[in-house]
Amino acid sequence: MLELEHLSRRYGDRLALDDVSLTVRAGERVGLLGPNGAGKSTLLRIAAGVQPPDSGVVRIAGEDLGAAPIEAKRKLGYAAEEPAFYENLSADEYLAFVSGIRGLDPEASRRRALALAESLGLADRLNEPVRGFSHGMRKKLSFLAAVLHQPPVLLCDEALEGFDAGAALAAKQLLRDMSHDGAAILFSSHVTESIERLCDRVVLLWRGRVARTLERAAWGGPDHGPTPLERELLALLTEN
């Protein structure tokens, strides 16, 4: 479970986050929706331990991120909006590095990485240096590294933007499976469609504050499979 309590963050004169509190329960997919500059990425970067808050507490599966960062980060996966990598490593080497840092079973995590890469359409490029990757491929690799260890808490910052339709569908299904297995997922986007179809609850951020929280019943969108266009594309991909 992910608990964010009274998080505030200021960049110079601008208050990016203003006393934000929210909880994502185990097995829940919570969407973070807001316009550009609403504070979504700041909130997720703070929750991921990439940058500290000015005040407030982050708890990852019961671990205080400020007090026990290593333990907390072991239980966390983070797919960044603008992912950074060791550019001169291959995707395979980067994933092996992440697996090593997280102390995962090498053989099991290698198999999982290959399976995930296959489903995201990245398998053919695993042995190429990351620096040659397109934006979409970088996002896929970041997502893959974030879910490699099947974390109990997953943070996705505009994670699926840049994915092709087939990979996006596979990633959404994976997110559903993970939450079904008990993962708490916080998923930010400024594209309402992704959140409508994926999340159980939506937190609307506005100028660094939680403006509103909506349950799925409020927008009534069913959590169903691909759209007609996505179905056409999937059919094409399957044929070829």
Binding site: A48, G49, V50, Q51, P52, P69, I70, E71, K73, R74, L76, Y78, A80, P83, A84, F85, Y86, E87, N88, L89, S90, D92, E93, L95, A96, F97, V98, S99, G100, I101, R102, G103, L104, D105, P106, E107, S109, R110, N127, E128, P129, R131, G132
Partner: protein, 408 residues
Amino acid sequence: MVSSSLPSAAFRRLEVAWLRRAAARLEPALWVELIAIALLASAFLFWQAHVRLASFAHDRGPAAASLGLAVYLTLIALAGGAQAGARHWARLRERDGAPPWRALPIPDPLLSAHLVRLSSLQASWLVVPAAALLIAAAGVLPAPWLAALGAGFLAAGFLLTRFACALALSAAAWRSEGAEARLHGALARALSSASRGRTSRRLRAASWRRMRAWVALWRNDARLAWRVPEIRRRLFLATAAMALSWLAWRLPGAENAAHIVAFATSLFAAATVAEWLIAVIGADPADVLRHLPIGLGAAWGARIMWALLASGALLAGHALAAHSLPPPVLRFFLTWIALSSLAITTLGVNYGVSLYPRTQQAQRLLTLSLGLSMAASLMIPLMGWIVLLTAVLHSLRRVARWRSAEER
């Protein structure tokens, strides 16, 4: 119609903002330290130069002393030119293909002048030793001569940095292919062909192993040492410097001074290893390290392991090269080398970690600290050790700043 003065004014504003930003990235305490080190180094230079110039002027007259001073100032200006040229080359080659801002309607001469100014700024720190030399000559040489030498230094510095940048541009543009060469100017060719050689190639499959975090980082460093050109260059330099220090024992006709040369070159080798380590640490992408469960101990420990390995290699090479020395002398010499090399490389690691991700500042602080240690040693025997160990301990206290690196 848009006036051509508008973009140049915009560039000036950009450069001022860039300078402000660069200054703000260094916290006040570090500024104080840098200024203190610069003042101490200047005081040393002043102390060394003043007596020599006075004695030279007394023996051979002020004209000869002025000529000597002019030679030193020219050497400093040449060093500035070399640094600016190297930076300009790196600036032109550091991107993959043409940068997106080439789409802006900026005339090439303006853009070129802007990039040259940025590269030349790197050499501006050399004004400090030049000023120290000029101040040292005050009272020894007539004031108008000093003013002329100062103006001459500034003019030479300006011309040499521009000349070196022009050479760097020509060299960068020269690499571009035929059709492009005919169609575009040098700047367009240099920028559009930058790093074109780094096309994607398939690498060997990674070995997936269970390992501790510091080992994973250490293995990563080993890979990047070969793959990142900047780090590879520094590694070659460090290896060459180590080999040079071993070869010092075989210097023809300098048997009596071999141990001094070997020690001096081993200090230089340790410094190049320290610079390599700073570059290695600086290559860590902050956002990757921040969200992964990597602690300060792992980040520091992986690099200290490199420092230990490099010091060990340096030591082993000297043990082999100087095996003909009497055992007590050899032991003394090796202890001296081991301690100095370990201190210098540890200092590099500490600066790299504590100032991460500001690699350039870390390199600069290392140069200044080692320069000050050398100066202190020349002034008072063994004083350099005190300065060096103080720097190591002081920097060790600051390594915890690595955790707040994202704030910079």
